[in-house]
């Protein structure tokens, strides 16, 4: 593969995973003004759940799509648990002065990760590509001689479909409107008969489901392993911040952007091994965005009510 196609493929595939994770941050931030520090771990948990269900529970006999659906449901449940155990008991609070949520969300992430380590597996696992079992895709060859695996195609397509779908739901349905109302003004929304607590639960469950989906989609590329929780957690957040925390599309675009930066640094840099410079480059970009445009590319500046 040439350098250019390598960069393009990396950007589109890994970028959409960052975006998917970042999207989860945005959903929760827009309804609660907090950041769910367990988001990265939920990706890992989703991946291991999928592996466990596929390899152990079904002995590799079930079609992966069934596993996929089960994992998404379970991940949504785990996301919801983070809210119910770690955030809801804090009651109505000002996230700026009561910082317990930082510790509870991060702590619950570690609890989930350690439970996986104890009860599912403590080593890296390979999950078969999702689409090999689907009849339509075999080994596909795209134009220009680019070899792309079918799971890569899914990795690119599924997140975009999900984001578009959720945007449509947000714009068109009753639930979506309620959700946007809570995101804009929690108090006013509750006066209009919307239950903000329920919307927060929806946000956490959705974010959990997105993380689980990301965990399965990313498995063929990165395998299911433990160090992705911090990496994807931080990169997803960076994607969300670059796009503008709270903006749906922003998170995806932010994801592509940092994946591009990574791929670019990996390929074109004056030093010998590019791998090492990838995270450094992303970190520098992150710091630069925070310093210059903290509300991101698509985010609106948040005006605090006094």
């Amino acid at each position: 593969m040439s350098d250019v196609t390598q960069v393009v493929v990396y950007t589109l595939t890994i970028g959409s995973i960052y975006g998917l994770v970042g999207f989860g941050y945005s959903l929760i931030f827009s309804t609660t003004r907090i950041v769910n520090f367990a988001q990265g771990t939920l990706v890992l948990v989703g991946g291991y759940l999928a592996w466990d269900l596929y390899a152990n529970a079904f002995n590799g006999n079930a079609a992966l799509p069934i596993v996929l659906i089960l994992v998404i449901l379970l991940s949504a449940l785990i996301g919801l648990l983070v809210d119910l155990i770690g955030v809801a008991p804090l009651g109505r609070f000002d996230p700026r002065t009561n910082i317990s949520w930082l510790v509870t969300t991060f702590g619950l992430g570690i609890v989930a990760e350690e439970l996986v380590r104890r009860y599912i597996s403590d080593s890296s696992q390979a999950l078969p590509g999702l689409v090999k079992s689907l009849p339509l895709f075999g080994r596909s060859r795209l134009p220009f001689g680019v070899a792309v695996s079918a799971s890569d195609v899914l990795l690119v397509v599924v997140p975009i479909v999900v984001v578009v779908l959720l945007e449509v739901v947000q714009a068109r349905t009753r639930l979506g409107r309620a959700f946007r109302a809570v995101a804009q003004d929690r108090q006013a929304a509750s006066l209009m008969g919307i239950n903000p607590t329920a919307m927060v639960m929806v946000a956490f469950a959705l974010a959990g489901a997105l993380a689980g989906l990301a965990g399965i989609l990313v498995a063929p590329r990165l395998n299911v392993r433990f160090n992705i929780s911090v990496t994807l957690g931080v990169y997803g957040f960076i994607a969300a911040v670059i796009g503008g925390l709270g903006s749906t599309r922003g998170a995806m675009i932010g994801g592509y952007l940092i994946a591009f930066v990574e791929a670019f640094t990996g390929v074109w840099n004056p030093f010998s091994s590019g791998e090492v410079y990838k995270p450094i480059a992303v970190f520098i970009i992150f710091i630069a965005v925070l310093a210059v445009r903290p509300s991101g590319l698509f985010g609106k500046k948040i005006v605090e009510k006094v």
Binding site: I99, T104, F283, L290, E304
Partner: protein, 705 residues
């Protein structure tokens, strides 16, 4: 006469006064007991365990961890910011203090601790500069990212400082002076002598760290940190440079953690960077320990760190707790910290304090009586501004008095909607100027624009003729604008007195006096000579280090860290001023209580005292009477009158029309973001557009006075 004297005292005040002060020994025990206990424990442990290699090694581990957690507590406990990457500073400290400085720069290993402290502070400050203008959680993610990139940076920087690759400490500390005091005939002691020496150094450094924190929390820095933790918005509006203080807090905590890293490096004799996940995991461990011990307390971090290192080293049924937990320890830690955060956020020390509070409930507050305040201190304006009050009198002679505040064409849009649309306003010095208008007319937006919480889209704001439109809230506070908040943003977990003391922030900065510079120069010379002569360091590095140390020591922050409060005259003056203001608003009997425990009306008065503490030219009261009982409104109106009598200009935003009509010299009315009327109370009341705006409510003779 205070307001409170004018009316029957609230029942709670009676109860406070009726309680006996606790006996003197109890007060002394409460103040110095924990510190003496720590010294006693460290001495006992060092002497009793020196023959046991396992325990003395655990002891070194424990003091190093405790120093790091003391550092984390400054950031998390006092300032309310969470870092999940502090272990990176621990490793960095090991590198710079035990390896680079010693092996590459030829500095005496003993100086490694100080170098790591300062270098950690600098690195921390650089990181914090990038994100401290944002909400707290951004800092958390930046530290996570920092932990993540520290391994790649270590790899990438192979050429730098001879590398960040794992290295051995070649020149351990020369501890002959300590060894001289050890009974080396005892073979077990002789075998452990390096660890024993390290333990005593660590214990001394731990005491030093706790001592610095102790000084810090009762200095203006510590009060500023706590104010930021409780409400950053109010801190900025009270003159605390919130951005810089957050940077300082982060730097300090990074410095202490990196100093602890030197100790650990000298203990294990090698330093290396682990992968990102492990860096984050180790950093989280500090948070767990700080939480368990008790956040925002002096003793908490030490208790927490000792619990997890020494406590878990205790054998239960033949195995230590650490061994029993085994691989489940990470799970246990995380579950524990979640439980503590939800159920007992005060931790062990907080719990003990609450217990102590129950036992001494018969006694009043802290046992210390309210100090006598010189009469001169009980006025809101102690110095300069009395003369400007006189200037108002010149108006009678026909000279135009320049307005305190002049606003021209002020506009603020939220989205397409103009919340404030081209408002002009000018406030006469020494007057009470009321700003009224229906709900949502833009009054609060106006206040937020004046105080700098929002930036105006158009228009000019001038204070005493000086354009302040682009300044941050804390600068405006320092120039003389003070405010209270509609939602009453007091710092609940600070004492009433501390709340007011923070208010003095703006106008009590220390100046660089010749004496201070002289002390710094002498210190630099002495230290340089000492390092060179006794430590055997080359002249240039010795003096470079000495000058850095001396400059750090005589800086504002250095003094706050090193000089105890009872030796500081400026601190006493600030406290006296704060007591005086508490007396002015009638709260002096509650000075040592927790601010959050005050009844609502008293919290409002506290907010006013805090605002007055900055010696403002202009005081903005944002709906001070909201939610008040008529009796309390009456007291408030008396207070505002006395504030004006002291020569302070008041901008009053209020819905209580009788209060407005009774107090104001001028009333401005805004509606839909624009000014619709202005004049004396009587004129405004007669204005048809005002009546229209209020839908005739204010024309009701029952409401109007």
């Amino acid at each position: 006469m205070t307001v409170q004297d004018a009316t029957p005292a609230a029942p709670t005040d009676v109860a406070v006064d009726a309680r006996r002060p606790p006996p003197a020994w109890a007060t002394v025990a409460a103040r110095f007991g924990p510190g003496l206990l720590l010294i006693g424990f460290l001495l006992w442990f060092g002497l009793a365990q020196q023959t046991d290699r396992v325990w003395i090694s655990l002891g070194v581990d424990a003091v190093a961890t405790a120093i790091a957690v003391v550092g984390v507590n400054i950031l998390l406990g006092y300032t309310g910011l969470l870092s999940l990457g502090h272990y990176s500073f621990f490793v960095f400290g090991g590198f710079i203090g035990a390896i680079w400085a010693v092996q590459d720069w030829g500095v005496n290993p003993w100086l490694g601790f100080g170098i790591a402290l300062l270098a950690g502070m600098v690195l921390g400050a650089v990181l914090a500069l990038a994100c401290c203008h944002l909400r707290g959680f951004y800092l958390t993610v930046v530290t996570l990212g920092f932990a993540l990139v520290s391994a790649p940076i270590a790899q990438a920087a192979k050429g730098l400082f001879n590398g960040l690759t794992p290295r051995q400490v070649q020149q351990p500390l020369d501890m002959q002076p300590i060894f001289d005091h050890l009974d080396l005939k005892n073979l077990q002691i002789a075998a452990n002598k390096y660890l024993i020496g390290l333990y005593w150094i660590g214990a001394a450094l731990l005491l030093f760290s706790v001592y610095m924190t102790w000084n810090l929390v009762s200095s203006r820095y510590g009060r500023g940190f706590k104010a930021i933790r409780e409400s950053e918005l109010a801190a900025g509006a009270s003159g605390v440079p919130t951005y810089w203080y957050k940077v300082v807090a982060f730097a300090l905590s990074a410095g202490l953690v990196s100093m602890a890293g030197v100790l650990a490096a000298q203990n294990t004799l090698n330093v290396g960077v682990s992968d990102g996940a492990a860096m984050v995991g180790n950093s989280f461990k500090y948070v767990v320990e700080a939480f368990t011990g008790g956040l925002g307390t002096l003793a908490g971090p030490v208790v927490g760190a000792f619990t997890f290192t020494l406590g878990f080293g205790i054998q239960v049924g033949g195995k230590t707790i650490t061994e029993r937990l085994g691989t489940a320890e990470a799970l246990f830690d995380a579950a524990l910290v979640v439980a503590i955060a939800l159920v007992a956020p005060e931790g062990i020390v907080g719990g003990l304090k609450a217990l102590g509070g129950l036992m001494t409930r018969a006694y009043s507050g802290s046992g210390r009586p309210t100090p006598e305040v010189p009469e001169a201190m009980t006025r809101p304006v102690p110095r300069s501004l009395a003369s400007s009050a006189v200037a108002t009198g010149d108006a009678a002679t026909g000279d135009p008095v320049p307005p305190v505040l002049e606003v021209r064409g002020l506009t603020k849009r939220f989205g397409g909607l103009a919340a404030i649309d081209g408002v002009d306003l000018s406030i006469t010095r020494g007057s009470v100027h009321a700003l009224i208008g229906p709900n949502g007319s833009g009054k609060s937006t106006f206040v937020n624009l004046i105080t700098g919480i929002y930036r105006a889209d158009e228009g000019r704001i001038a204070l005493d003729g000086r354009d302040i439109g682009r300044m941050s809230p804390f600068r405006r506070s320092r120039l003389g604008i003070a405010r209270t908040f509609q939602t009453c943003l007091i710092w609940r977990r600070m004492s009433v007195l501390e709340n007011v003391m923070v208010g003095t922030h703006g106008r009590n900065g220390r100046r660089w006096s010749p004496a201070r510079i002289a002390v710094g120069v002498v210190l630099a010379l002495l230290l340089g000579l000492w390092f060179h002569a006794a430590g055997g360091t080359d002249v240039v590095p010795a003096f470079l280090v000495a000058i850095t140390f001396a400059a750090a020591a005589v800086s504002d922050l250095g003094i706050a860290l090193l000089v105890p409060r009872f030796l500081r005259r400026d601190e006493r003056a600030v406290a006296e001023r704060a007591w005086g203001l508490l007396r002015f608003v009638g709260l002096e009997s509650r000075g040592r209580d927790r601010a959050g425990a005050l009844p609502f009306a008293d919290q409002r008065r506290l907010e006013i005292a805090r605002a007055l503490a900055s010696d403002p030219d202009l005081l903005l009261l944002d709906e001070p009477a909201a939610g008040m009982h008529p009796n309390e409104v009456h007291q408030l109106s008396d207070l505002i009158r006395r504030i004006r009598a002291a020569g302070i200009t008041v901008l009053l935003i209020e819905h209580h029309m009788d209060l407005v009509m009774e107090l104001s010299d001028t009333v401005s009315v805004i509606d839909f973001g624009g000014k619709i009327a202005e004049g004396t109370p009587a004129e405004v009341r007669a204005e048809p557009r005002v009546i229209e705006a209020y839908l005739g409510v204010d024309a009701d003779p029952g409401v109007a006075p």
